[in-house]
Symmetry: C2
Subunit: 753 residues, 2 copies
């Protein structure tokens, strides 16, 4: 009988999925509008489906290969946890499913949102936001389902019940909690691989189509964005769905699950030896806080209701009420839940959670400051468009690099304070276990209300797509203006969600360093026993290597890292760090070049169609949309392999050559350089985008001026920055950590045997 609080997790999962279905049905009841609108939506839907089918084929092959490899390591060489192949697969499938459902919803919602926007801004918001809510609730619902299901399965094999009068049973339960939580971490790797492909492939697809469509359509042929005469325009809209929606869904599924699992594993390690009962509460706390946040998110989503005919200010107020309401509620109620659950050091843990929330809010606000046209940096970039594209680019890169300061200082302060509070007001390595658990819980705090923050994030691309639909279907310009307004409205609330996502990735990255050391410890035990361990023993029998795990558990984290000489002067650590930082740059370079190459192919195709099909420009002939979709699809599939393989190969390669210190160096170097690099790229890209919009709003000469032309060039450069390289980097860092944990046994085996 697991702690009763656990059951909140499956309950929240079912409620989230149920609410998602409810919102999906509501959205589907709306009309798709004119036949032309429905026809265009069908084109986009087919294109997106065709892309995802192709993508899942390629990813499926990769998963098959990796599963075979992991099975070989686990069942033949016995150097890996035998649950890994299954956990890996489910993580991948669920992450893909989250992206798929989100994308399907978005492709159904675009014409419906455009049609609702014909009616009123409010109506448009309601449809778009509800579709975004489907995505948000599906991600957290599937995540909690996966966590709950695996925890239930594993506790059947590794009982975690403690008993007041059986110290041996307590000891076994304690060991089992460590084994279960580290095992569950491995399905994070499946999710990470899936989301890497989704982000990189989707990011290349969408920006190749976008840049290609703009370069020929807007600049050469002089037709507006999303004009139906542009052969690449359907591909561009498909791209928004497969990149921004499906990619984001897979990515955040991975983050959400990763944060919860990493914290659970850190909790099991931190309270090891303090009683299985105490330990179990620490393990369950992140899951239960996630479940609580999900329930509050559902409430928050329902709070976003306005009377018919509300002003756009009221709408924004309603959105903010939903997001902020959920954040305030989690801040307040989490203390009660931690207290009622009897989590050890509940006040410190709760403070860590609050620190996490505040850190996320600061990061989000900083990103907004550096990318919104309401503030200085973006306006300065727009100013520099007066002296041409070169100064726009220089200014955008300069501001983007500066924008790294506040998020890094926020993360540094957040790490320090979360550690300090959770470690009982200590900030030293003697309390590292408790402190790391606090860092994990801070990340859990950030992502606990993902259900609603993701809803406000995901409805932006939906509104964007609705605008494309309206443009292509030749609806009156005020419809497009309304969908643009919806998109802009969402940006304000989305900033908080983005801050949470980025901050939690950084904190989890740090927490995973410790999980890696824990896994190394377990791998040593497994190898010493040469496969007699872990083979799904009868759960009534004592775990065969319990005594060995016990010996190993006597080594604390500091002794482990000292044993492996993971010190900053060790050349293996330093080499690992150099390579990790380098990978962040090379990975970004590969994706940037991929976009450039794929956009070139798209440019050639659009030019070819304009040249050979004269009816297109006259409006008497339909362009060959499908061919452009297929070009972007093929290019994305081809181009995503090299960066993905690099990310997958690096932790194994460094582990084989330089062992544990090299791997830890790789992860740390990748995390610190990757965080700064991705913030820089994301913020530069966002600022260029909005500098262009600022000019289009009528400043500095407005649309068509030389300043505007310069700003358009900045925006085009920013596209792969903010939508391909930047977001892919976050996953690179997390994937390398997850993978290092999964294949820890390989490095250990090679360097022990």
């Amino acid at each position: 009988m697991i702690n009763l609080w656990f059951w909140l997790v499956p309950v929240a999962s079912v409620m989230a999925l149920g609410a998602a279905y409810f919102f999906f049905r509501q959205m589907m009841k709306e009309s798709e509008g004119t036949p032309e609108m429905a026809r265009i939506a069908l084109h986009v839907r087919h294109g997106a489906l065709a892309y995802l089918k192709q993508q899942y084929k390629v990813v499926g092959t990769v998963f098959l290969c990796l599963t075979v490899l992991f099975s070989f390591l686990a069942y033949v060489l016995h150097i890996q946890n035998p649950v890994v192949p299954f956990a890996f697969l489910t993580g991948g499938i669920f992450s893909g499913l989250a992206g798929f459902i989100g994308m399907r919803t978005a492709t159904y919602a675009s014409a419906r949102t455009a049609n609702a926007a014909r009616d009123s801004l409010n109506h448009g918001l309601r449809v778009a936001f509800r579709s975004g809510a489907v995505m948000g609730l599906v991600v957290v619902g599937l995540g909690l389902f996966d966590v709950a299901a695996w925890f239930l399965i594993l506790t059947r094999f590794y009982p975690v019940e403690s008993s007041l009068d059986d110290p041996l049973q307590n000891l076994v339960a304690s060991h089992n909690l460590v084994i279960i939580t580290t095992t569950m971490l491995t399905f994070g790797m499946g999710a990470a691989v899936q989301s890497l492909f989704a982000r990189v492939g989707g990011g290349i697809f969408t920006k190749a189509a976008d840049v290609g469509a703009d370069l020929v359509g807007k600049i050469e042929a002089g037709i507006p964005e999303d004009d139906a005469r542009n052969p690449a325009t359907i591909a561009d809209n498909v791209g928004d769905n497969v990149g921004d929606v499906a990619g984001m869904g897979a990515d955040l599924y991975e983050s959400y699950v990763g944060v919860i699992l990493a914290s659970a594993a850190l909790g099991a390690a931190a309270y090891f030896g303090k009683g299985a009962d105490v330990q179990l509460r620490a393990v369950l706390a992140p899951m239960v806080i996630g479940a609580l946040g999900t329930l509050l998110s559902i409430i928050g989503v329902f709070l976003v209701r306005t009377r018919e005919g509300a002003s756009s200010k009221e709408l924004l107020g309603a959105l903010a009420r939903g997001v902020n309401g959920a954040a305030v509620m989690i801040a307040v109620t989490s203390f009660g839940v931690l207290w009622a659950m009897g989590v050890p050091n509940k006040f410190g843990i709760w403070l860590a959670l609050i620190v996490g929330l505040l850190t996320g809010i600061i990061i989000g606000r900083a990103a907004e400051h550096y990318t919104s046209q309401a503030f200085g940096p973006t306006q300065r970039i727009a100013e520099q468009s007066k002296t041409g594209p070169a100064t726009v680019i220089i200014g955008g890169i300069g501001e983007g690099m500066m924008s790294v300061a506040i998020p890094v200082l926020a993360v540094a302060t957040g790490i320090s304070l979360a550690f300090y509070f959770a470690a009982g007001y200590h900030f030293d390595i003697d309390h590292i276990g408790l402190g790391l658990y606090g860092i994990g819980m801070a990340a859990v705090g950030m992502l606990s209300t993902l259900g609603i923050t993701l809803a406000t994030d995901a409805y932006g691309p939906i509104a964007d797509n609705a605008g494309g639909n309206a443009e292509m279907a030749g609806l009156p310009p005020e419809v497009r203006r309304r969908t643009d307004a919806l998109d802009a409205l969402g940006n304000t609330t989305a900033a908080t969600g983005k801050g949470f996502a980025i901050g939690s990735a950084a904190l989890t990255g740090i927490a995973l360093l410790a999980s890696y050391v824990e896994e190394v410890k377990i791998a040593i035990g497994r190898i010493l026993e040469k496969g007699s361990d872990f083979a799904f023993p009868d759960h009534t029998v004592l775990h065969p290597i319990a005594s060995d795990v016990a010996t190993l558990q006597n080594y604390n984290l500091m002794e482990m890292v000292t044993h492996f000489q993971v010190v900053l002067v060790n050349p293996k650590v330093i080499v690992g760090m150099f390579v990790g930082a380098m990978l962040a740059f090379v990975f970004s370079g590969l994706t940037m070049k991929a976009v450039g190459r794929a956009a070139g192919l798209m440019v050639d195709e659009v030019r070819r169609q304009f040249a050979t099909m004269p009816g297109i420009m006259a409006g008497t002939q339909d362009p060959d949309y499908a061919r452009c979709v297929s070009i972007s699809t093929k290019a994305a599939q081809r181009e995503m392999m090299l960066p993905a393989m690099l990310a997958i190969a690096a932790p194994v390669g460094i582990g084989l050559i330089f062992g544990v210190p090299g791997v830890l160096g790789l992860l740390a170097g990748g995390a610190v350089a990757g965080f700064s690099l991705s913030m820089f790229m994301a913020n530069s890209g966002g600022a260029w985008d909005n500098a262009k919009k600022y000019i289009e709003e009528g400043h500095l000469g407005g649309k068509g001026s030389d300043a505007h032309k310069a700003a358009v060039i900045g925006d085009t450069v920013g596209d792969p920055f903010k939508d391909t390289a930047g977001p892919s980097l976050n996953i690179l860092v997390k994937l390398m950590s997850m993978e290092a944990i999964v294949v820890a046994g390989v490095a250990v085996a090679v360097h022990l045997l």
Copy 2:
């Protein structure tokens, strides 16, 4: 009586300075050409002098403040080495002097080179190369002088003579060697501060003038580069001298001295306890190898001789013969010298030296591959100019990010192999002292022939300036073509020199991490004795804290870092790393923005002159050159303060808050992120520059085509990348390490007391 080999150091210093004076006299004998040419050269000379005067005033104030601060720490609080204020000052003065002499020579040489180029390409090369040689030989000559002088002074106070029959004297000598070498390291900080201001200030000056001149002159007014009618053109040429020449001189002086001193300190630490005699040889080895390389460089410079009327291919051959000849000679003769000196583990140390040379060559070749128009990457960027400036920028950033891979892998391999060889074929932390000494010696190998490699690097800007002089003086176009050819010729040989400079900076950065730990050890001893130590005791008396140093010396490096918990899971280390990586980005962002702002001021001024002085464009009125120089000067002085203060404040701030683990994290994070970021920026910038040149050579439509216009925008963006932010980053990393060593006592005092 110090080891006889030591005397090679002052001998080489005097010979280098003598040879420099000889080449300077030879250059001065040449004619400055027409009165117009002499007049323009005078303008540039005055402008450069005015800038440097202003710069030295500002830097002098900073030095005064820091010297007062260091004196306070040393003489009042007794937490710092009392030699620091003096060593700091001499380092700064000599570094500034190296830059000043180089710049004066360059400003005398430009008109003379242009005039010689009127005669023939060969004649031009001879004048330019000899002027470059002045710079190269002054840098190494002053460096060796400084090293030799301080070593002689310090050994008078801290005798290092060992005696066969007095073990106590041996012990004292051993301790004194550690004290002397760590003390000498502190004048590296003076050089680093000086070179930071020279690089940042000079870099902002030159690119503000360059970008400003181009934006109004080339793009708006449609007049060619270096046209005398452009008011900013003199400022542009002044910029080449103060940025590329004076900045480079100060920078490489710092690198050269830093590499030798760091290796000496590592040698003293590595062989501590193995006898003062053995230790002394290890300490002298980097100095003697530097002296040997300098003598070989002088020979190399004299080898660059061709018969009258030689072809340009013969000229290139002569240059390559000089550079490669010196490299081969150092590879061969260094073994003999190490053997004759009786350096311990001479074969391993020699192999480390060779590893260093090869690493430098690989980095140089990789940089050439990624930036020369003879190879794929730059040609691909040029290709992308067909679809406009946006794709040129995306392509250049993508290729630049990819270009990080080979240098990092070369450094990683170099570190590993140099460690392995020098540690007697071990690669583990038990042999860390010997291994780090090997890494230091690899860096010494790279920079040993700096005298000649710098000569081939410095003659590029001189040829560039000569071209400017020719253009402004209205010389026939073939003169400009010849000076351009000279510039291009130099690029091939300069690549090796750049590789050595970059590689040695990375290796030294790593070696300095260990020196920091050594200095922490000494600082603890000093503080425990509360100021009774180190106060220039009578050198016949035993050093008062000898016994305490002895106790501390029993802690080896690993025990020290374990004691301070400098492990990769310590949150203080991780926070330090995050902040270090962030600083690299923020520092680059500040310098990029500074260039943007200063260029904007220049654009306004040039536009104002064109508008209010109609005679300029007609050629009847001289523009107000001095005003443009003064604008760039003021902007550079103002803009360089914030990034410089940030670099100086960070190690102190982190040390105060997070102590030793935080500082080591900061240095490591800054080094790994800074290395990748600076390689990326330098190579992107270089590739854009050459992509433009590739088109100007007649490819893709040639000069004036749309592709060319797009490539010019790429080149303008690349200017601050390659000449301001990129090179400044290397110094940022070295300055932070040097400063951490100098102020180690502060962090220790705060966290011990």
